[in-house]
Amino acid sequence: MCLAIPAKVTELLGDDMARIDMDGVSKVINVALVEDLSLGDFVVVHVGYALSRIDPEEAELTLSLLREAALVGNAS
């Protein structure tokens, strides 16, 4: 359930609204649920609202764990 996708904040519009972009698709959404949002942040968007911010370091960590597991798998 809960279709949500990561999108980049491209414009802060005030009144808890912001414009986001995902690969050329742009939309105005509500960002009241995410604190201290900055331009360039990635947020998880669900039904027109940002639910949380994506942590780039954690994302990279997950990817490196993935790559490591895949390496181990390929070697086995």
Binding site: C2, L3, I5, M22, D23, G24, V25, S26, K27
Partner: protein, 349 residues
């Protein structure tokens, strides 16, 4: 005893609206037809002002088709209901391998529809028909009360000719045949959805609405008798087109997701709406099935045409009593691409 001719006043296209009288057969209707439709379509058949067009007999077999257009919104990025109604009918003829020759157009207009919008639609139809070299030779206009139609509905019919040696049909796919598409999938549907009320988003995607008979002519010249099936994947997208062919030819398909062209913006819009680009409509693309040994030649011919420059071979026909369309996913797994159930609606979950 000379009576002065009444002064003929032009339609107030800028501010005027269609009234019921514009469909009731009187002067108002004649004026609407003349000022908007004849002006836009302009040809000798229409100028003769008869209820029918008399056409010279054509060599080969005749092909005929008809289609209704009820798109919402009427104007969308890359086209409008007018150009769509020309392209769609031309494509239905072209998918049989035939050359489209003449079109008819019938309009059902809602009372209150602005003349300016009607003129814009008619002009767009005229341009599409001239660019394709297929004239609109006869037509009809009806006006219905406000609330009885969504602005304007257009119905176009078309006639074409088919050379004796060409025989394309949806029941002719055979195991081993190659499956090709002429370009990226889902552009039209995404362009339309981006303008739907309560869904609006911004995306630089234009509808792919285009007449395919030129591309088809090049394909026939290159591959001729090796071509077995052609289909334009409109409503229901590529998924519906392949499932229909699978059923009608009693075969299955094995296709590869990684080989199916989809523009990044279309993929992103589909992610955002919870849709699958394989089910999204196209209006200027075709699926072709041909004998395997002709596939490379056909692909090269398609890529040489502007409307086929992103053509791709996406898989082949297999023997399958269940008539499944099986796809190797870009991720490496396998799945069935089933018929669309119901209409494709945006999901939140």
């Amino acid at each position: 005893m000379n009576r002065a001719k009444p002064i003929r006043r032009k339609l107030d296209i800028k501010n005027g609206r269609v009234e019921l009288s514009h469909g009731s057969g009187g002067r108002a209707m004649a004026q609407l037809i003349n000022d908007i439709f004849h002006a836009a379509f302009d040809n000798d058949w229409l100028r003769s002002n008869n209820d029918q067009a008399s056409l010279d007999a054509l060599p080969g077999r005749l092909v005929m088709t008809t289609d209704g257009y009820v798109v919402s919104p009427l104007f969308f990025p890359g086209g409008d209901i007018g150009s769509l109604s020309v392209h769609g009918t031309i494509n239905d003829i072209a998918m049989g391998g035939a050359t489209p020759k003449y079109l008819s157009a019938s309009f059902i207009i809602e009372e209150g529809f602005p003349f300016a919008d009607l003129e814009r639609i008619a002009q767009s139809m005229g341009e599409a028909s001239r660019a394709a070299g297929v004239p609109i030779v006869t037509g009809d206009t009806k006006v219905v009360e406000r609330g009885k139609a969504d602005g304007v509905f257009i119905s176009t019919a078309g006639v074409g000719v088919l050379p004796e040696e060409i025989s394309l049909s949806s029941d002719k796919a055979r195991p081993g045949d190659a499956v090709l598409v002429s370009g990226s999938m889902g552009d039209h549907g995404v362009a339309i959805m981006s303008r739907r009320e309560n869904l609006q988003f911004d995306v630089e995607i234009l509808s792919d609405s285009a007449p395919l008979h030129g591309l088809v002519a090049d394909m026939i010249a290159a591959a001729g008798g090796s071509l077995r099936v052609m289909r334009d994947p409109t409503r229901g997208g590529l998924a519906a087109a392949l499932n229909e062919i699978a059923l009608q030819s009693d075969v299955g398909f094995a296709i590869e997701e990684a080989l199916i062209p989809v523009k990044p913006q279309v993929a992103a819009a589909c992610e955002f709406l919870g849709l699958d680009p394989l089910y999204v409509a196209n209006e200027g693309k075709l699926v072709a099935i041909c004998e395997a040994q002709a596939a490379e030649t056909l692909l090269a011919a398609m890529r040489a045409h502007p409307l086929g420059k992103n053509a791709s071979m996406i898989g082949h026909v297999v023997e399958d009593e269940n008539n499944f369309v099986e796809m190797k996913t870009g991720f490496g797994g396998g799945r069935i691409v089933d018929w669309l159930s119901g209409e494709q609606l945006p999901r939140i979950c």
